[in-house]
Amino acid sequence: MTSLTAGSTTPRKKGWYARNEIKVTPWLFLLPGILFFAVYVIAPIFQSFWISFHEWDGLGEKTYIGLANYERLATDRKFEVSFWNNLKWLFLYLLAIPLGLFIALLLNQKVWGIRLCKSLFFFPFVISQVVVGLVFSWFYLPREGLLNAVLVTFGMEPVNILGQPSTATYGIIAAGLWPQTAYCMILYLTGLNAVDPEQVEAARLDGAKGYKMLWYVILPQLRPATFIAFVVTIIGALRSFDLISVMTNGGPFGSTRVLSFFMYEESFSEFGFRMGYGAAIAVVLFLLMLCFIGYFLWSMFQDEKEGR
């Protein structure tokens, strides 16, 4: 009430800002964030599209060449290999979700020391991918590596996983699955914590147990966790770069390249920078990712509508 009377006795003292405070404030708060984001994230996406129609060494003039970069991609063997490897990454990386669920179910108990156990299972996720890559490349070493030491003790033939084009990509994906599984595990552990105990008891009285219980009672309640696990795993699979760069640098014979690595390699090619061609590869990767981003945003939008 006081503000009402104050407003009516001194109407002229209220400035433009005071009158429009609720309308203006959000924009003032958004301004720095949007500015940064627009300059460093939004604008570069469009610039990359633009650059992909040019030939450019990163320094001199850009030469407009239309769709020539994309035509070259269509016949580039290296592009084909990278694209298929990306698909392998996508499918195999998704194994992190069931594996993570499995470990979470294993650890969802209340025994002595279980807290520490959970932390130690999660721990690979905190280590940088560069170190994970190094650790695994030493693990796989044909002579010094622990993997072959174990294989030989069990009477098996030693293998050179990263040295052979047929196995190298799988070796790297296995290394990537290690932290990713840990991430999915922690999502499911949190989810399991929130499962409604009454529903579980009721289902148990109805005679549900084992995988039927898991499938019909538990998993539906874990849906939000599964969604996030799916999002982060897909994004992680398509972002794979560090591991490949550290473990094989694209080799042997270019067999472990993926689009993100191929793009980097072409842009900073030893035969002169090919930023235009690199941008074209990035655009393809972006469009591939866009299918998933679209789906994620659509799902989140449905949730937002329900929330109102």
Partner: protein, 282 residues
């Protein structure tokens, strides 16, 4: 609770579980244990092919001493800190503001702006690489820590906004309405009411961003070159070429490089996991 609590199962299964658990843990961490083992061995062990036997001598101090005093590792570590800490501060500051604006106010383009932030956060790095590198060179910040920090702040704002906005939305809106009735200015609502309530979110986000940025490799190799600005993830490659095939030193170096985020995780575990699993439970 699912699966069935172990106390309610048979005695044999209980014992099996209790023995299998540590075994599973050892298998899970095997690659890491191998590296830890490497890092305390002597070069003589590697020369004689004693890779997996007992170390003939205990070289922990020697190996780690070499990492700290005979390589550029301390410089790389310092660079990592000088890149990571300002990024955390910047990204958290910007996003608590954007999160406040998107979480409290109703206006037409609210959801669009929010979705722009989320979408940008999912984009592959490579689509940004060429223009961001060009921009950084243009600003004269190529191979500087500041160039890297500015980009990281901008990019992380996407994820942080998502996080902050959802957190602020869950706060009781009556608080803000009550404050408005009292005639409190909008910026004061942010500073005196919302910000103090955001402490758990600020903590969770800081630990997460610290880890993400410390572990970044791609942007480190795109935007920096030499020991003056390179963080440890990129520096470790030159470290490894200095000690090529000396696995005991390379292992020690990797462990040192991985340590700060690991320490952060174990110290702030609750916040870390709360941040990471946001949205995993409705």
């Amino acid at each position: 609770m699912f699966p069935k609590p172990i106390e309610k199962t048979s005695r044999t299964w209980q014992i099996t579980y209790q023995t299998l658990l540590p075994l599973a843990l050892v298998v899970w961490l095997l690659p890491l244990l191998a590296v830890a083992m490497f890092s305390i061995k002597s070069s003589a062990d590697f020369a004689t092919g004693n890779y997996w036997g007992m170390p003939t001598s205990f070289e922990l101090f020697n190996n780690y001493g070499k990492v700290f005093f005979e390589s550029k590792m301390p410089q790389y570590m310092l660079n990592s800190f000088l890149i990571t800490v300002p990024t955390v501060v910047g990204a958290v500051a910007l996003s608590s503001m954007t999160g406040f604006a998107l979480g409290i106010y109703k206006f037409k383009s609210n959801l669009w702006i929010f979705f722009m932030f989320i979408a940008g956060n999912f984009v592959p790095f490579q689509i940004l690489m060429v223009p961001v590198r060009d921009l950084t060179i243009g600003l004269g910040m190529y191979d500087t820590k500041l160039g890297l920090v500015l980009f990281h702040i901008a990019f992380q704002t996407g994820f942080c906004t998502l996080f902050m906005r959802n957190f602020i939305r869950a706060l009781p809106f009556e608080l803000i309405e009550a404050a408005r009735v009292e005639g409190i200015r909008e910026w004061q609502i942010f500073w005196y009411i919302v910000l103090p309530l955001m402490k758990p979110a600020l903590a969770a986000l800081s630990v997460l961003i610290f880890t993400f940025i410390w572990n970044d490799y791609f942007w480190a190799v795109v935007l920096t070159q030499g020991p003056s600005a390179q963080p440890v993830t990129a520096g470790i490659t030159s470290f490894n070429s200095q000690f090529v095939a000396q696995y005991h030193l390379m292992s020690a170096g990797s462990i040192v490089a991985a340590l700060p985020p690991v320490a952060m995780f174990f110290l702030m575990q609750k916040h870390f996991i709360a941040g990471l699993t946001l949205g995993a439970v409705k």
